[in-house]
């Protein structure tokens, strides 16, 4: 029964070699190696001739260093040492390139404001305390700005493949919701209620407004205090001219994610929590009709001696132990038994996933005994999921 369902194989090389693939979104829960995987895909694609930019949200310095950069910032930086043909398939002289950048959400937000408002108004917005909190908060802004940046990179036309590493949200689904939530807020009833008084101007506004509005502001004043409400109102009034822009951009990015040429890769580790999140994500993508390329199962334990089962290995270790001889073989057999147990536990988890999602293609990346420190480390990962 266990081998009845083998998932279709996920062919990452075919995906990155296909020039029609323009955006790859890597998603998954935190701690599964998503950022490293995104970088490895980017490197492999570049060395197979694509012009790639990797957009990450993970501030891990080690990742930057493994790509030969001292740090990453909000501008794409060229990764040195990329060699065409180093990734198996020599594609001739049209060497690819790899850029990497890390999202600075406040900077990105500031740039939108500066681009959409006249200088006076922009200055007013940037100085507003509510804006400053909003633009540097994690709750939704990071997700929104990641999508915004993706739109910018796509419009720039400088790269033919963009790889996005999504924010480490509590749930991997957040990044799909957050832009809409922020968009809904910026475009919603609440905002119109809040902007209304500022348009009427001054403190007299309360009298001209209907009772329903009075109740809402009353409650908001109770919760937030009058000063907060004033800041929000000022902010919103200043932002008024930009609404069209915000909405358009949110729509544009959402459509971009559904367009042909976009592929989602769900990254997971063979652990119950990570695979549960991966399942939710697969279901959600299907509901939104977003193009799922497949599941990358990271850190999969393997054994070169899989023909020796855990039970036989354990029994052999016990035989030797009882005889009091060959301690090295006892250690090796015990370790092997443990590893085989882990192999089969992981296999079971992967099978559960495939039973629930039989049509989702899967590729595996074997566990690496050491952390990734340089381009060669990233290449090794690329080799594992590639051909």
């Amino acid at each position: 029964m266990t081998s009845s369902h083998k998932p279709p194989a996920l062919d990452v090389d075919r995906l990155i070699d296909d020039r029609r693939t323009r955006i790859i979104v890597c998603c998954g829960s935190g701690g599964v190696g998503k950022t490293t995987t995104a970088a490895a895909i980017g490197l492999r694609a570049a060395e197979r001739g694509r012009h790639v930019v990797v957009l990450t949200v993970d501030p891990a310095r080690r990742l930057a260093q493994s790509m030969g950069l001292s740090s990453l910032d909000n501008t794409p930086r060229l990764v040195p040492g990329i060699g065409p043909g180093r990734a198996g398939d020599n594609r001739g002289d049209d060497g690819g390139s790899l850029h990497a950048m890390m999202l600075d959400m406040k900077r990105t937000f500031d740039e939108i404001v500066e681009a959409h408002a006249d200088p006076d108004r922009a200055a007013q917005i940037l100085a507003n305390p509510f804006y400053q909190s909003l633009s540097s908060s994690f709750a939704g802004t990071q997700e929104y700005m990641a999508m915004e940046k993706l739109g910018q990179l796509r419009r720039a036309q400088e790269w033919d493949l963009i790889i996005v590493d999504t924010p480490p949200s509590r749930s991997a689904l957040d990044f799909l919701d957050a832009p809409q939530r922020l968009g809904r807020f910026l475009d919603g009833k609440l905002l119109r209620l809040l902007t209304a008084p500022a348009k009427f101007g001054g403190r007299a506004y309360m009298r001209v407004l209907n009772a329903g509005f009075g109740v809402v502001t009353g409650v908001l004043t109770k919760i937030l205090g009058a000063q907060v409400l004033r800041d929000v109102q000022t902010f919103v009034a200043a932002l008024d001219t930009m609404f069209g822009g915000f909405r358009e951009r949110a729509d544009y990015t959402y459509q971009l994610l559904r367009a042909p040429g976009t592929a989602f890769l769900v990254v997971a580790a063979p652990e119950p929590d990570a695979l549960r999140e991966a399942s939710y994500f697969v279901e959600r993508l299907a509901r939104e009709r977003m193009p799922l390329a497949g599941l990358l199962l990271n850190r999969v334990q393997r054994s070169p001696a899989a023909r020796l089962s855990a039970a036989r290995s354990q029994a052999a270790a016990e035989t030797l132990q009882a005889a009091g001889s060959h301690p090295l073989a006892v250690t090796a057999l015990r370790l092997h038994a443990e590893r085989m147990q882990q192999v089969s536990a992981q296999r079971r988890l992967a099978e559960h996933f495939t039973a629930a999602h039989p049509i989702v293609p899967v590729a595996e990346i074997p566990a690496q005994p050491q952390d990734v420190h340089d381009l060669d480390g990233l290449r090794a990962i690329g080799q594992a999921f590639g051909g």
Binding site: S29, G30, G31, V32, P59, R62, P129, F130, S133, L134, S137, F138, A139, T141, P168, R170, A178, R181, R184, F185, G188, K189, L190, L191, V216, V219, K222, I223, L224, G225, Q227, V228, A269, E271, P272, D273, A274, S303, P304, A305, A317, T319, L320, A323, S325, H326, L328, A329, V330, T331, A332, L333, L335, E338, Q341, Q342, A345, P369, Q370, D371
Partner: protein
């Protein structure tokens, strides 16, 4: 210690450790509340109970000890919307405001968009539980300890530093007042933040960065507690042989003889393969040793939790709780 905040990088087993710590603290007749902050129902999975609401439910009985009978672990999932409704009810008697606010998008605004508010609402619930007294005349605390399964390390500084998060938003006013009360609980000497990690480079770096961040927060006063090293495994090889194994210098002839003596086939080839597995294991053991040394830098107590090889279940959770007690973490 009355409020234990448990954080860690994703994938380090933060929720499991928070659960084990709650069990360990409840042992011997104590009453402990375990709070989940991010609505993934990880605690329900862990204790094998139905999904938890925003309401305290008993999820486990802690083991009895020499000093007292078994205690009780209660749990709840704190979500910002319910916390806001409760807050409105408690302070303003606005019981039915919730539905109207949701319709207008105020809920969205207050719980997910307005920066800091969400965190004040969540930490506020923990602060309330810590301070809650029984209604009887004795007036004792309802909970001996509260354990918070907090957001991951990358966000912990912001999450706990509520006052400054909110101060950008509210310099005065009721939310500010509430934030200040919460802050007093978080910065109290009875509160500690524990960091869960595994012995890999990235999680260790995040734990060190998180500790440094908490220490550098303006005003100080947020106490770092223990570093909990999760999923540790005993060395397969004797300590003296690890280096040689990692360098691939194991005696494969001897290994092959041993396999033959155990009655296995194809011993030459098998010896080579098993030696490769030992080398992998030795390499990762050396890497782990390096990471462990780095965890000494902050000078906080470290506690080891074993890897539960047969899959995490309730039995495993009790074993982890016992390990925490044995090492004096609870």
């Amino acid at each position: 210690m009355r409020l234990h905040v448990v954080t860690g990088k994703g994938g380090t087993g933060k929720t499991t450790v928070a659960g084990a710590l709650a069990l360990a603290l409840a042992a011997g007749g104590k009453r402990v509340l375990l709070m989940e902050m991010e609505g993934r129902q990880g605690i329900a999975q862990l204790f094998d109970v139905p999904p938890l609401p925003y309401e305290e439910r008993k999820v486990a009985v802690a083991p009895s000890t020499m000093t007292g009978p078994g205690g009780d672990v209660y749990a709840l999932v704190a979500d910002p919307e319910s916390a806001l409704v409760e807050y409105l009810e408690m302070f303003y008697n606005l019981r039915h405001a919730g539905a109207a606010l949701t319709k207008l998008g105020v809920m969205d605004f207050a719980t997910t968009i307005a920066p800091g508010l969400r965190d004040v609402l969540l930490t506020g619930k923990a602060a309330e539980a810590v301070r809650r007294k029984t209604s009887g005349k004795s007036g004792g605390r309802v909970y001996d300890a509260v354990v918070m399964d907090a957001p991951p390390t990358g966000r912990i500084g912001r999450f706990l530093n509520v006052t400054s998060e909110v101060s950008g938003l509210a310099r005065v006013g009721p939310i500010r007042g509430h934030a200040d009360t919460v802050q007093n609980v978080i910065r109290s000497p009875d509160t500690a933040v524990h960091f869960v990690t595994v012995l890999e480079e990235m999680p260790v770096q995040e734990a060190l960065d998180g500790i440094a961040e908490l220490r550098s927060l303006a005003g100080g006063g947020i106490q770092v507690g223990g570093i909990i090293i999760n999923m540790t495994r005993p060395l397969a090889l004797p300590a003296g042989e690890v280096r040689a194994a990692a360098d691939g210098a194991l005696d494969e002839d001897e290994l092959a003889l041993g396999l033959k003596a155990a009655g296995l086939d194809d011993c030459r080839r098998l010896a080579g393969e098993l030696a490769a597995e030992l080398a992998d294991d030795a390499k990762s053991a050396l890497g782990q040793e390096l990471q462990r040394a780095r965890l000494d830098e902050p000078g906080q107590p470290c506690y080891d939790l074993p890897w539960i090889s047969d899959g995490m279940d309730l039995g495993g959770l009790y074993r982890l709780a016992a390990a925490l007690r044995d090492q004096g973490a609870a």
